[in-house]
Symmetry: C2
């Protein structure tokens, strides 16, 4: 056999992409072999090289497209909103919904950055930094106008994004709580976290019996 009946380059390319996401999500980039990937799509491993330069580039393509998509869509959602509180709520809602519907992509983009070579990694990290910058700017503006009590916007940005992204680790579409409810809960946590009184003070020493010894 050689070219198979009904074969179509565009369709195969998309199938490889999807299978790649699935397998990298499940086994990790290094652990996924190209023969495994080829079998998933119904090809021989050598045929994959019609669709990417090498294994590394497959990963890079997937991750970069994801990060670019995330950034563009977040900016679009925030576009036109000026009130920091509205922007924060929008950001939280967007981030959560995006992550709940693309868990595999998100997981890969966050976890396999280390598997990218230096050049590719730098580009992806740049995109991520721009994305984080969206939230950081919101927090700075809210702090400036006094709506938020945030002394360290950078740290709080990391904290909130970690909190939201963590939903990828356990969310299941058929779980007891639907997406809207989860967005409510997380939005409440984020809003309370940046508006609450505790972060406005330098708190007294914690009532610890003893410190963590770890």
């Amino acid at each position: 056999m050689a070219r198979t009946i009904g074969s179509n380059g565009a369709r195969t390319a998309e199938a490889i992409r999807q299978a790649g996401v699935k397998l990298i999500y499940r086994h990790g980039y290094e652990a996924m072999s190209l023969r495994q990937l080829a079998a998933e799509v119904g090809l021989q491993s050598g045929s994959l090289y019609k669709y990417f330069e090498n294994k590394q580039n497959l990963l890079f393509d997937i991750v970069r497209e994801h990060m670019g998509d995330l950034l563009v869509k977040a900016e679009a959602d925030l576009d036109g909103l000026t009130d920091p509180m509205a922007r924060l709520r929008t950001f939280v809602g967007f981030h959560l919904r995006y992550h709940m519907t693309r868990m595999a992509h998100v997981f890969i983009a966050n976890m396999e950055i280390r598997s990218l070579d230096e050049v590719h990694r730098a580009e992806v990290i740049g995109l991520r930094r721009r994305y984080e910058g969206l939230l950081e700017d919101i927090l700075r503006e809210g702090a400036r106008t006094g709506v938020f009590h945030v002394e360290e916007p950078r740290v709080v940005t990391y904290a909130i994004i970690s909190m939201l992204t963590g939903i990828c680790m356990w969310y299941r579409p058929d779980g007891p709580l639907d997406q809207d409810r989860l967005v409510e809960i997380y939005t409440g946590l984020a809003v309370d976290g940046v508006t609450g009184p505790a972060s406005a003070f330098a708190p007294a020493a914690q009532p610890l019996k003893r410190r963590a010894r770890g």
Copy 2:
């Protein structure tokens, strides 16, 4: 050559452990080869098998010990405290400090669970569940006594733990903020998040221009 001068089993075992953590952290479990690990310790790859049964068991030993340690030390820190607020602050402080001083272990334990075979994974997940249960119980008790406004303790547990654990992704000991300051910030976020008003209501529809389309 065979046995090298000054060689000592206990010391080598510890060196292998440490090098294993370092390499798995840096490259991932699958990507770390035993020849790489052996070279790091100054051995031949075959000699490693005096110290573990196989590669899988090395990972399991590292992860299980970490999770067990985390659980035991958290329980010790919380021991004797009854006030939910004090317990929450203690938990947050413990978790953060532990994660700031053992970033590699934590990262491995969280990320390489999927690389464990079924039996080992089940045991590790059980330990993790017990650890999460500590916080969940704190939240439930606080909600019962009315100090906390938490409707979904399970979800909020995941949210807080993700937020805290995320510090492993960026914390550097030589950064501008010291551990105490970071504990303050994160504790403020957590406390405000569970005591603030927003989570007490079913919030109105978000002021979104449009929903995330991801």
